[in-house]
Symmetry: C2
Subunit: 414 residues, 2 copies
Amino acid sequence: MILEELGMAAKKAEPQLIKLSTEEKNKALLAVADGLVADAEMILAENAKDIENAKVNHMAAGLIDRLLLTKERIEAMAEGLREVVALEDPIGEILETFERPNGLKVVQKRVPLGVIGIIYESRPNVTADAFGLCFKTGNVVILKGGKDAIHSNLSITNSIRNTLAKVGIVEDAVQLITDTDRETTKAFMKLNNYVDVLIPRGGAGLIKTVVENATIPVIETGTGNCHIFVDESADIDMAIPIIINAKTQRIGVCNACESLVVHENVKEQLLPKLAEQLKAKNVVMKADEKICQILPEAEVATEEDWGTEYLDYIISMKTVASVEEAIEHINKYNTKHSEAIITGNMKNAEKFLNEVDAAAVYVNASTRFTDGFEFGFGAEIGISTQKLHARGPMGLKALTSYKYNIYGNGQIRK
Amino acid sequence: MILEELGMAAKKAEPQLIKLSTEEKNKALLAVADGLVADAEMILAENAKDIENAKVNHMAAGLIDRLLLTKERIEAMAEGLREVVALEDPIGEILETFERPNGLKVVQKRVPLGVIGIIYESRPNVTADAFGLCFKTGNVVILKGGKDAIHSNLSITNSIRNTLAKVGIVEDAVQLITDTDRETTKAFMKLNNYVDVLIPRGGAGLIKTVVENATIPVIETGTGNCHIFVDESADIDMAIPIIINAKTQRIGVCNACESLVVHENVKEQLLPKLAEQLKAKNVVMKADEKICQILPEAEVATEEDWGTEYLDYIISMKTVASVEEAIEHINKYNTKHSEAIITGNMKNAEKFLNEVDAAAVYVNASTRFTDGFEFGFGAEIGISTQKLHARGPMGLKALTSYKYNIYGNGQIRK
């Protein structure tokens, strides 16, 4: 497979997608959803090949579960596409209009990004999800999934392309890179002539590889070393359920709490009660010396712990003497994702909100709310942890750009 | 010089700039402007060293002129800073506020990008200009200028830092990288832990180097292979002055016209008259076969010409049979900067506006208007030719991001 050819096909499809009305896009998305359900048997048969290979290769049970498709999971993919239909189409929105003294009329208009590249791991559902969000926003998408899911991804992509062809839409609106070797992936990341934006979806390793190798503009997503700071004025009865929720409600997600920062004046009040509940959930505690004195069952934390996103039943714990010290510690080790302060002091809350550098900063709430659905944006393509373009949960608008259309009647520059 | 130390100093300065009020920032900018004028003698003495070295190294006259500072040019730099004072401060703006059914109150607020890296060529005025725009938007800036301007840049940076210290503002708000070797520059482009965004300002070569080597998010600026398409319904008397203006009013700028696309039904009407005026301005014409038959003085264009940003008294010329062919040609060779159609047919105008992929698309006007001042945005940090984050002339808002501040009272995720 020659990447240049894929790129050229994508660029050729681009102007055709721009021309589609919201109604045409929605009709196509509904047809694609029905098509996936109709093709379920074929998709499940291809998925079975991936599962068999995964077992031969001794893939971990958790990863096999992520790779596995069932009738219900295909129905859920279809349902996801139907939900995208319900979202407002941002394309064509007029952002600003102004007239210049020389009579030029300038219209700033929301347009698709163009061609979006998505690099992801062995989760076949991302194939349909990413297509749906990109298509609704008039973007062409080139997908590069994990090699362990290649049969599943190819069957899903083929189902989508067949449906698009049936409803009269250019099928190159979605393409899958079928060469799953590392060289192809790296070459894809440098396909600047054809791809406008690259969005990696996956773990820290995948994202690091993309950031280090891509020459295409990247939206960095997903890594979350999230902290909760319990201030000296915190309501301890509010703090404990928030910490337990943020740490244990779902451990493998980017908005889970990985580290607790405690004002030293409340450590005796907070920690023994909290530790009891953490232990009940089998959470391992890695703490600084002051906390280890109160909680002998805690392990001593190392420098590395402060910067680690565990995604596991582990929490790091550190004491500080002030809100300032908490902010400094968090800004040093966080990944700019989600941070929370539990406090009864609104001055400290405002200080924390203003000075902690993160996409989402919470007062007296769990970090687990940083999510497209929880924010009311609907399905998301990811959670941006960079500051360029989009920050936090990325709804449909994050998949758009703008252009200036300028109307004149012969103006020249003096 | 250790880049890590610069980066750490910048990150340390970052929260201090966030806290400054608009008034404090404006007061500091006015003081910096006055400081530059007061330090003019020192700056000119340092600039003289750069000029002397440039002459020894046989630098071209045009480049020496760009490097040269005079009292008037220092006064102009100061005036540029005073103009930035007059611009509206976008920081702190509330972009959106909404309440979720669970009672969480979400406030989306405009914040600085953080630490901005600017890589530029040997134009000492960029040192003050870039500082002014970054500082007004609460951003810390790390500058890396051309090695031929090192004495000038260092003297300007020192003047700014001294003034900042005098008015009680952290002087690391601006830092200059004094090692001008390529290795340091490349390492700077990978300083992801400390730099949030990188903006190259300069020619195509510099921008290409940054795009290829940076792991920090980049805003690509400035390359402009801009076209003017003369449609069959064009008013020829309007078309000619627009083309002459866009090609010759200032040849070395990114919004100058580099290529003419002509509908074949108007080539006889347009070209002889146009060629006369182009010749009067000493513009060399490189054209396809059909045009060469009409204009024997035109040279035959090669494939390379269609993709070349001349920045010179040269224009390429191509015939097409339709607006569709014009759009296809332009989308194949343009750099997504500025494109124009001259037409009397509003349907073709709308088609061109919608389907040509560029930051600014004009109907019946010169491409030379793509500029922060011409758009009414004031001073600009550059013209973005990418679709991520900002497109076209980048005013102060392009130097900002946003964050979500979320107020709760104990919410946990179900």
